[in-house]
């Protein structure tokens, strides 16, 4: 067909593509491609290839690489091609290098020069091609080489170039924000570009900038709002329309930016309400792009400071989305619902059927999104249904990534909302069983701790019941094949700790099970270690209880096997088991007390119990301990060494390594202060101090150190002892000997000490938070779990509120609705007006005249419909008041921006009348801000005047067009 060879490929290339297309297998395809590579290698290095031919070779290289084969032999030719003067060759060259090369590739350096030259070209197509390459190929180091050229292009004559230059700057910003930080003003300038396309392009970098820090851009809110307004009102040329929608991508970007700027910022948000409201109201829900804008508006509404009216409008749109047949819209609806639910939790209730439908949908994407929503909606009353659903889905999928994700969600919800211990354990069992190895090991540890500590109930019966139910369930599960390792560890631990606790199962039964397990999973050393320790514990409990221990033959053989294990850990455990069995009951009781797993272990960080021993050693001539950081502070070289060691030794704990450089600061000072306090041998000491600081040799230092030792025992060797210790030994000693070294020692050691303590404390805190949370969760569900569960299962939906909630919320929602409806009539207009007046006049006009006075004036005059209008408002006011009072007492959720919570009648009334007055007058006066004095004594006159003004050309606002007709008529 005619389309073939659009850019003039040879027959060879067409044949290649055809043969690849007809390849029956991957192997056959590979063969063809490899043959092609051979051909290209040969041809491409021939001398004097015509440009056209060369271009084709490059395209063929691209094609080969797209199919996953290495084409690096041709990169250099692509680079050469960028140097070509012919635009098309150049373009092909640029296309190839952008697809082939990373921005740190060695060949880039050969292109930068060309790019620089091309950016200065007279032909704008060359400039565009170069700009395209700039985005991909210029990295942090090469940015300065082209930056001035790009900045120059920002004021290029062609809008296409300006647009691309803005985007190139944007790509620099993404790669290295600091490189263009001084150019931010250029983005602001381009926002006012004559060409809407350039303005639209500028929104992209601004979005990123605002995303990083919105505060410097708050002043642009008004501009963004007015741009959005103009765009939405079709003020742009028709060529920017897309499917009759004015510049939809610009609208979406602007809405995203407004969402960022309005987040948590009430004054900024207030600027936006009108325009967003207009966009939602006029939104075209019949086209895809129209819905995209509607969805984006909802996102913005959910992000900015909330406004009841907008929320309502957003909820309507969501309802439309969810009711749609399109899966895409349902997806967007669910997503939007998830965003809005934080602001108004009740909104999901009316859509529960739709949500359930989405959950049953064959579409995975939709399902996952729905789980996301359910996760946000989970309460103690519905946790069971939701988690059950999640687990069901988790079992059904094979995508490990998502499985891990949803498993962690299940665990999180279960930990947070579990209605009963039994349910919690069952749930965790299911999660472990089906996603075991994907679950974080911490979850297993949490589960063990939970079983050990309970959910915070006080009575022991519940405790032991929890444990025995756990034991029971594990004994049942243990027989299943191929359990994940993490789960087996939990099982071993629980069986070892509590297997025989309630007396239902004999020790031999449990130990038999444990041995079977160790045998079945003999490749898994961790499981074996857990199993053997569990055996040790069970035997210890037996001995302590005074029963005779009969070791099963299989246990015996297991122990024997482990005694000879390659793993020293397993060996040690086996030996320990043997040793424990040989002890008498009292000793066993002391080393392995029953149910001691949750007793707090107090760690004596100073190891004070060793004091006596150390004293003794020092008296008998041993050297006192010198803390590591004092030593490292003494000698800079060794400082580095110990630094390195620390890094290599504790690879996982990198944060420690970062702190090391701080250590020398205090320790460098201490030698000096120490030397000043030591009066005995000041000269050699300071000399030595200086020496060591100048990187003394280790041998010399140790010499002087040992000679000093005889002169003075404290202070001096504390600094000098360093070289005598080899670093690795010292690091292991550091904690154990700390306390011995007297006062100065401790001072110096504080940095390290406190560091250790800090990390320890924080870890401890973390450990304590979880049970705290769980306790809270457990107390929330209290005794009423049963009834709760029934209600939740019967309603079987996410709605499933706690037993007493339905009436409550219904009671609240009924008057709410009524008030909503009534207030809508009366109230709805005022906020609209007020918002419309967001322009200067609203602040200027009303304060100038007392609203009450105005109102009175209006009421006095007899012939305006405005009177009846506002009169109606006033007459209605008491009703609303009652409603408000009613609602506030039941639930604090009035309607609209008028805060009913204040409960102050007068206040509200004044507000209402204020609004009415503003409406009455503003409709008229606001439009003519030039004469605020007109509405002085005679409201009727002023209204007439303003009406005339309006007739002259100003369109009346939609709220009260009758007003003027009546007045004139």
């Amino acid at each position: 067909m005619g389309s073939q060879g659009g850019f003039g490929q040879s027959k060879e290339f067409l044949d290649l593509i055809k043969s690849i297309g007809e390849a029956r297998s991957k192997a056959e395809e590979d063969r063809i491609v490899i043959r092609e590579i051979e051909t290209l290698k040969r041809r491409i290095s021939e001398p004097d290839i015509p440009k056209r031919k060369m271009k084709e070779y490059i395209i063929r290289l691209l094609y080969v690489e797209m199919l996953g084969h290495d084409a690096s032999f041709g990169y250099i030719h692509a680079v050469k091609m960028t140097h070509d003067d012919n635009l098309l060759s150049k373009r092909t060259g640029y296309l190839a290098v952008t697809l082939f090369l990373n921005d740190d590739h060695d060949l880039i350096i050969l292109i930068v020069n060309t790019i620089q030259k091309d950016l200065k070209s007279d032909n704008y197509l060359v400039v565009c091609a170069a700009l395209n390459a700039v985005c991909r190929l210029i990295n942090e180091e090469t940015i300065p080489a082209v930056l001035p050229l790009i900045v120059e292009l920002l004021s290029h004559g062609k809008e296409a170039v300006r647009k691309k230059a803005v985007m190139a700057l944007h790509s620099f910003y993404r790669k290295s924000p600091s490189s263009v930080s001084h150019l931010v003003s250029n983005f602001r300038k381009r926002l006012c570009d004559n060409d809407p396309g350039v303005m639209g392009a500028t929104l992209c970098p601004l979005f990123d900038l605002i995303n990083d820090d919105p505060n410097p851009y708050k002043d642009l809110v008004v501009s963004f709002v007015s741009i959005l307004k103009q765009v939405a009102e079709h003020r742009l040329p028709k060529s920017y329309d897309y499917h009759q929608m004015p510049a939809p991508f610009v609208q979406i970007k602007l809405l995203k930016i407004l969402a960022l700027l309005g987040s948590g910022d009430k004054p900024s948000s207030e600027h936006m309400y009108t325009v967003i409201g207009d966009i939602i109201r006029k939104g075209d829900s019949s086209s895809n792009i129209g819905n995209a804008i509607l969805y984006e508006s909802i996102r913005t509404v959910s992000s900015i400071h909330s406004n009841a009216k907008l929320l309502e409008a957003a909820a309507d749109v969501i309802a439309k989305f969810l009711k749609s047949d399109s899966h895409n819209l349902k997806y967007m609806g669910i997503d939007a619902l998830g965003r809005l639910i934080k602001l108004s939790p009740l909104i999901a209730e009316q859509h529960q059927l739709a949500v359930i439908d989405c959950l049953e949908d064959p579409d995975d994407t939709l399902k996952r999104k729905t789980f996301e929503l359910l996760y946000k909606m989970t309460k103690s009353s519905n946790v069971e249904v939701i988690v059950d659903r999640m687990i069901e889905y988790m079992i059904s999928i094979s995508d490990d990534h998502y499985k891990t994700y949803i498993a962690s969600r299940c665990v999180e919800l279960a930990e947070q909302f579990a209605p009963s211990n039994h349910w919690f354990i069952q749930t965790m069992n299911k999660v472990f069983e089906h996603a075991g190895d994907l679950v974080n090991i911490k979850v297993a540890h949490n589960l063990m701790r939970l079983i050990a500590e309970g959910f915070g109930e006080d009575d022991d019966a519940a405790y032991s019941q929890l444990r025995s139910s756990a034991v029971e369930s594990y004994l049942r599960i243990i027989g299943e094949p191929k359990l994940p390792s993490v789960f087996l560890q939990v099982i071993c631990w629980v069986l070892g700790e509590y297997g025989t606790a309630d007396g239902k199962h004999s020790a031999s039964y449990i130990t038999g099970k444990l041995c079977d397990m160790a045998e079945a999973y003999s490749n898994d050393e961790i499981v074996k270690a857990y199993a053997i320790t569990a055996l040790t514990k069970i035997y210890a409990f037996e001995i302590a209880a005074g029963r005779k221990v009969d070791m099963l033959s299989e246990c015996q053989s297991l122990v024997e096997e482990l005694l000879a294990s390659h793993s020293t850990d397993l060996q040690q455990r086996a030996y320990e088991l043997q040793a424990v069995i040989g002890l008498d009951a009292r000793a066993v009781e002391a080393i392995l007390p029953h149910d001691a797993s949750c007793e707090d272990i107090e760690v004596d960080k100073n190891l004070s119990f060793l004091n006596g021993y150390i004293q003794q050693s020092i008296e008998s001539g041993a050297m006192p301990y010198i803390s590591e950081n004092e030593r490292s502070g003494m000698v800079n070289t060794s400082n580095f060494r110990s630094h390195d060691q620390q890094e290599s030794g504790q690879h996982g704990l990198r944060f420690e390594a970062y702190e090391v450089p701080k250590a020398p600061v205090p320790s460098k000072v201490t030698p000096v202060s120490l030397s000043s306090t030591t009066d005995l041998v000041p000269v050699p000491e300071s000399l030595y101090a200086r020496e060591t600081q100048q990187i003394s040799s280790v041998g010399l230092a140790s010499d002087t150190g040992s000679s000093e030792l005889k002169l003075r025992l404290d202070g001096v060797q504390k600094k000098w002892g360093k070289p005598t210790y080899s670093s690795p030994a010292s690091s292991s000693n550091s904690t154990s000997q700390n306390p011995v070294n007297g006062v100065t020692k401790v001072d110096v050691a504080t940095t390290i000490n406190s560091k250790a303590r800090d990390s320890y404390d924080s870890r401890k805190q973390q450990n304590e938070i979880d049970p705290e949370k769980q306790k809270l969760a457990a107390s929330l569900f209290g005794g009423s779990t049963k009834t709760e569960r029934r209600t939740s299962t019967s309603s079987k939906g996410p709605k499933a509120s706690a037993a007493d909630r339905p009436q409550d919320s219904k009671a609240a929602s009924v008057p709410n609705k009524a008030s909503g409806e009534k207030t809508n009539q009366v109230q709805q207009p005022p906020p609209q007006d007020l918002l419309d007046l967001g322009e200067p006049t609203v602040t200027a006009a009303p304060p100038a005249v007392d609203p009450f006075m105005q109102l009175e004036g209006l009421l006095d005059s007899s012939n305006s419909s405005a009177v009846s209008n506002s009169g109606g408002a006033v007459a209605n006011a008491p009703d609303i008041m009652g409603l408000y009072r009613g609602t506030t007492s039941s639930e604090q959720s009035g309607g609209g921006g008028y805060n009913p919570a204040s409960g102050d009648n007068l206040n509200l009334l004044s507000e209402l009348s204020n609004a009415a007055a503003v409406r009455g007058t503003t409709g008229a006066t606001i439009v003519s801000p030039l004469s605020p004095s007109v509405k002085g004594a005679n409201a009727k006159d002023s209204l007439e005047k303003d009406a005339k003004v309006r007739q002259m050309g100003v369109t009346p606002t939609s709220q009260n067009p009758n007003l003027f007709r009546d007045l004139l008529g």
Partner: protein, 166 residues
Amino acid sequence: MIRAVLVMNTQGKPRLAKFYEFMPVEKQQEIIRNVFAVLCSRPEHVSNFVDAESFFGPDARLVYKHLATLYFVFIFDGSENELAMLDLIQVFVETLDKCFRNVCELDVVFNYSKMHTILDEIIFGGQVLETSSTEVMKAVEEISKLDAASSAINLVPKSVSSWRSR
């Protein structure tokens, strides 16, 4: 930001692959395979969105459109709107259609560099540049004019002249 644009046929053969951030060839292939595996397992009449986090890193979403024998796939992050991306695919396809008249897989295969030219006029450095297929066509034609002018020695003269006549 848009991270990648893929066009592949229903057998999983890539027809166009453009990554807006560098990606080693092996990783590209892996992504193409993964995307294809996900797409061909999806039933008909479901949404056009897929979560791409598992093979494209955090916050990656994917929108695809199945047209005749081709999948058009855009992968992007949270700063773009899914529905809008769907429309961007529409813009791309519309432009191709204008360019090739009833675009089919063969056109896509045989006009590899032209596909890139078109795409570069729609998406620039991962950002949406132009959404009007008329404008895109104008830009592409301007470049093609040069091509036609310079192709005095044409390898497939007939086809090019037929193309020029449009």
